[in-house]
C-alpha cells in the first residue's frame, strides 16, 4: 500500500494559493468545482466570526478530496459553500464551469439536482420509504426519466440488492449509509459531497463504508469531496486538505492514515 504513496508536503498559505493552483500545477483533467478567494463571516461587528478567511481551490474530475481540520476550522462551512448550501461573504464558486454564487434558490436547487450528491453523517433517510425509494428520491424530485439499469447497478455496487424493500428502521447503520451512498450516486452527480460519512458508525462498519466510497470513486470516476475527522477515512483520498482557522494550511497527496495523524499533530501545534 505504501508504495503508491507520494509525499508532497507544502504549506499553502492564503496569499500564495491562487498562484499555486493557477500556475504551477497544470491540471491533466478539468476542474469540476473551483473556489476563488472564498470568505465567510458570521455575525457583524465585534462578535463577527471569520469561519473561512479566503480559500481558493480546484477539485478535478475523478478526484477524491478529503478535508480535515479541528472543530471550528471552517471545513464544514467550506463544504457547504462548495455545495451551494451556503453563500460566501465574498469570492466565487463554480460548478461544472458555471458560477453558482449568485443564483437564486430555485436555480440552486436545480444545480443540486443535476450536479450534486450528498452523503450525511446521520444518513438522513426518509423513514417511511423503502431503501430503493430513498435511493431514487432525488431522481424523482427532479422529475427525470431515469436509467433503471444504472440504479440497479448502483444498488448492487453498495451491496443492497437483497435489501431494496426494507425501510430504514429495518436496516443497520452501515446499511443505511449504503443507501445514502447509492442515493448520492444514482443521479451521477458532477460532484459528491460526504459530510463525516463514518462519523456515526463503528470502526468495522466504517471500513466497509470507506471501501464502498473508494470503489465508487475508482470504478465510476466519481468526483468526491469528503469532510472528516477520521484519518482512516481521509486516507482513501487522492489528496487531503488541512484547514485551520479558516485557511488551508497543508495539502497532502496520497497520504496514509499514519501520515495523516502526523500531519494532524503538526497542524494542531502550528
Amino acid at each position: 500500500m505504501r508504495s503508491w504513496l507520494d509525499y508532497t508536503v507544502e504549506v499553502n498559505v492564503n496569499a500564495v494559493a491562487p498562484a499555486t493552483t493557477d500556475g504551477r500545477e497544470q491540471a491533466a483533467k478539468a476542474a469540476v468545482v473551483s473556489a476563488r478567494d472564498v470568505t465567510r463571516q458570521y455575525g457583524e461587528g465585534e462578535t463577527a466570526v471569520q469561519a473561512v478567511r479566503g480559500i481558493s481551490l480546484d477539485v478535478k474530475q475523478g478526484e477524491l478530496t478529503a478535508i480535515m481540520g479541528p472543530s471550528g476550522s471552517g471545513k464544514s462551512t467550506l463544504m457547504h459553500i462548495l455545495a451551494g448550501l451556503d453563500k460566501p461573504t465574498s469570492g466565487e464558486v463554480s460548478i461544472a464551469g458555471s458560477t453558482i454564487t449568485a443564483l437564486d434558490d430555485n436555480a440552486l436547487t436545480k444545480v443540486r439536482r443535476k450536479h450534486i450528491g450528498f452523503i450525511f453523517q446521520f444518513f438522513n433517510l426518509l423513514p417511511m420509504l423503502t431503501a430503493e425509494e430513498n435511493i431514487v428520491l432525488p431522481l424523482e424530485l427532479a422529475g427525470r426519466k431515469y436509467d433503471r439499469a444504472w440504479v440497479d447497478q448502483v444498488i448492487g455496487k453498495v451491496g443492497l440488492s437483497d435489501r431494496r424493500k426494507h425501510r430504514p428502521s429495518e436496516l443497520s447503520g452501515g446499511q443505511q449509509q449504503r443507501v445514502a451512498i447509492a442515493r448520492a450516486l444514482a443521479s451521477r452527480p458532477t460532484i459528491m459531497f460526504a459530510d463525516e460519512p463514518t462519523g456515526n458508525l463503528d470502526s468495522k462498519t466504517s471500513a466497509e463504508i470507506l471501501d464502498v466510497l473508494r470503489e465508487s470513486v475508482e470504478e465510476y470516476g466519481q468526483t468526491t469531496v469528503m469532510v472528516t475527522h477520521d484519518p482512516n477515512a481521509a486516507a482513501i483520498g487522492h489528496r487531503t486538505l488541512f484547514l485551520a482557522d479558516g485557511l488551508i494550511v497543508k495539502e497532502l497527496h496520497g497520504a496514509s492514515a499514519h501520515d495523516l495523524i502526523v500531519a494532524i499533530d503538526e497542524v494542531g501545534s502550528a
Binding site: 457547504h80 455545495a83 448550501l85 451556503d86 434558490d105 430555485n106 436547487t109 436545480k110 443540486r112 439536482r113 450528491g117 450528498f118 450525511f120 446521520f122 438522513n124 426518509l126 423513514p127 417511511m128 420509504l129 428520491l137 432525488p138 424523482e140 424530485l141 427532479a142 422529475g143 442515493r183 443521479s187
Partner: protein, 859 residues
Amino acid sequence: MIGVSLKGLAGRKLRALLTALAIILGVAMVSGTYVLTDTIDKAFSQIFQETYANTDAVVNGRGADIEFQGESTATPPIPEEILEQVQSVSSVEAAAGTVFDQRDAKILTKEGKAVNTNGAPSFGFGLDTSEEASRFNPLKLLDGTWADEAGEVVIDSGTADREGYAIGDKVQISTLEPAEEFEIVGLAQYGNTDSLGNATFAAFTISEAQRLLHRDGQLDAVSVAARDGVTPTALVKDLRSELPGDVVNVRTGLEQADEDAESAEFTTFIRYFLLAFAGIALFVGAFVIFNTLSITVAQRTREFATLRTLGASRRQVLGSVILEALVIGLLSAIIGLFAGLGLAIGLNELFKALNLELPSTDTVFATRTIVVSLLIGTVVTVLAGLFPAIRATRVPPIAAVREGAELPKSRLAPLAPYFAIVTIAIAVALLGLAMFKDDLATAPRLLSIAGGVLLLFLGVALISSRVVRPIARVVGWPATQIGGVAGRLAKENSMRNPARTAATAAALMIGVALVTFVGVLANGMKESNRGAIEDQVQADYVVTAQDGFSPFVAGAGDALEEAGVGETVTPVRSELGKIDDEAQYVTGIDPDSIAETYAFEWQDGSNAVLAELGRDGAIVAKGFADDNDLRVGSPLELLAPNGSTALLEVKAVYEPPPFFPLLGAVSVGRELFDSLYERPRNQYVFVNVEGSASAAATKELETAVADFPDAKVQTREGWIKQQDEDFNTFLTMLYVLLALSVIVSLFGMVNTLVLSVFERTRELGMLRAVGMTRRQIRRMVRHESVITALIGTALGLPLGIFLAALVTQALGQFDLRFEVPYSLLVVFAVIAIVVGIVAAIAPARRAARLNVLEALQYE
C-alpha cells in the same frame, strides 16, 4: 417547576396561540349565546313590565285558553259596558279600555305587500290616548301625535325606518277589512324597547280599531288604577265582586305581565339551541387541545427526561403539563368571553339576515355569563390535557441521553381498540334508547341523544388511528397522481403517525358528520314535504298568507269566490279548538267543493259523505281517531275559544300523510265552523282554474285579492318551492353554526402541520439538499393537509348518514323519507379539500422557508 412550565409556554407563543384559538371560539359561542339571549330576555320582560307599569288590575275576556303545539288562542273580547261598570267601582281611580289584536293589522310596504313579520306579531291597537288614560298606554310616542280620528294611525318607528315611512305619509294597512289608506300622524316604540324584532304595530283610535278589527261594541282589555291606599289585590277583589265572572277575568297587573311573558319562552329555546352548537365547538376544541398537547409532549420527551434527571418528580412533570393546559385554558376563556360580546352581535346579524329579527335593548353581560364561560373554557382544556400530561410522566430519566428519544408507549395503547368498541357500543345503545323507547321524558331523551352522539364520535376517533392507513391509501391516491413525488411523500407522511393524523382528522370528522346529518335529514324532510303536498293537494293554486303558514283574513277567500275567476274556490278555515277536552286544530271545509282540490285517503267513508256533513258532522284523521277510539258514528264535543260548544258525530275517517297533514285532527263544515269562531280565518284557499295554472290565471287571481295584501297566490309547485326555500333559510343557519366547529378543526389541522413541520426539520433540510424545490415542499405539506381533511371526510360522511338514517327510523311514525343527497355530499367533500388547502397555507410556507443548512444541523 411552575416557572419552567410558564417560561416554556412563553417560548412557544405561536403554538400556544393556535391551541388557544380552538377553545376561544367555543367559549365565545357560549358567552355570545348568553349575552344575546339575556338581552332578548330583558327586552321581552321590559315590554311586559312596562305595559303594566301603572296598571294595578286588568280586566279581559274569559275564554277557553286553548294551547296546542306552541300556539294559543287569543283571549276573547269583552263588551264595552264593562268599562263603565269598572269605572263605577268605588276603589277605582281610573280605567281605560283597549282594543288589542296580535295578528290582523298588516302594514303594507310601499309596493303594496304586507310587511313580512315571519311569524312575529303584527299588532293592532285601539288606544285611549286621553290625559287620564295615558298612564296605561304601553306605547311611547317618539314623534308626532296620537291618532285622534278615523283615518289616522301611529306606527312603530322600526317599521317606519325599514319601509321608509315618515310622519305625514300615507300608508296602506290591511285588517279584517280590505286594505285602507291611513295618514301616519306619529311614530312610537313599545315602552323603552328599541326594537321589537320583526313585530310591527299600528295604533288607531278605539272606534277605528273596533271597526277594522271587527270588535263592534267590544274591548279586549280594561286597565285599571286603584285609588290611593287600595292594594292591587284588594282592587281585584272589588272588581271580581262587581263584574260578571262568566264573562271576564280580573288579574293584577303583575299577574298579567307574568301571563304574557310566558309566551316569550322561546328565548329559552334559542339559548339551548345555540349552546348546543357552542358545545359542539368546544368538543371539537377539546380534540384539538388533546392532539396538540400530545404532539408537544412527544416532542419534548428529552426535555422531560432532563427535568427528571435534575430531580423533578413524576408529579411535578404532570403538574407542569397540566399547568400549561390551565394557563392556555384560562387565557382562551378570558379572550373568548369578550369575543362573545362581538359574536352576540354577529349572531343577531345572522338572525336578521335570515329575517328572524329579535327584540333588542341594552346589552346584558351577566355574572353567570362570565362564570360559566371562564369555567367551561378552563375545565375543557385541562380535561383534554390530562391524558398527554399523564403520558409525559412516563418519560424515564435515561431518555435524556439517548439519541432520538421517543415517548414510551402508553400502557393503555393496546387496549384502545377494545375501549373504542365498548364506547361505540354504549353510544349506539344510548342512541337506540333515546330514539326507540317511547315512554321517555324529553330531558333524558335529549341527554341520551347528546351523550350517544358524543360517545360515538369519541369511539370512532379512538378506533380511527387503526383505519388511517387504509383510508389514506385510498384518499391519497389522487395526490400521488397530481402531486408527483411531493404527493407521494405527502401520502406517506400522513400515514407515518396514524394516531396524530387520526386525532386531527377526527376533529374535522365531527363537523363533517353533523353537516352531513343535517343535510341528509333535511333532504328527506323536503322530499317528504313535497310528497305529502302532492298526495293531498289537487288544486292548481294555493292561496296562503304572505308567510305561507299563518291563517289570514277570510275576506280574501270571499273575494276570490266572488270574482269568479276559478272554476273551484274552496277556503279551508283553521283554528284551535278542544275536542273532548283535548286541544287540536279544527278545520272548516266547504263540503261541496273540497273534494275537487283535496284528495282524501278514505279509511272509512267516501267523498259522498262530505255532502252529509251538515252542522253536526265531522271528518276525523286516522291518527286522532285511533288515539281516541273513534269510529264512524262516534260522538264528539267541540269547544271553541269563546266557550261555545257543538256536539258532533264522526261521519268518516281518512288517513292524511303523517309528515304534513294539511287539515286538522277534526274537520267540520264551514257553516258550523263560522258559527263557532267569531272571526274565522283561512289557512289556505285552494283554487282550480279552467285548464291549468298559467301566467294569465295567476294575474287574475292576484287582482282578485289585491285588497288583501296578506294573501299570496301561488301555484301548487310554487308553494312547495316556497316552503323548500323557507326551510333552506333555516338550514343555512344550521350550516353557519356548524361551520364554527369546522373552523375549530381547521385550527387543529394548522397546529398539527406546524408541529409536524417542526419535527421534520432535518428531513426537510435533506429533501432540499437533494433537490426538492420550495414549490415541491409546499405542495407536499398541502397534499398532506388535504389527505388529512379527506380522511376526516371519509369518516364523517358515513357517520352523518348513519345518524340521519337512525333519526329517520326513529321518526318512522311521521313517514319521513330517507334520501341521500349525493351532490350535496360532493360539495361537502370539496369544502373539506378547501379546508385542507387553507390549513396548509402557513405551515407550507414555513416549511418552504426553512434554511437548508440550519435545517440539516437541526437536532
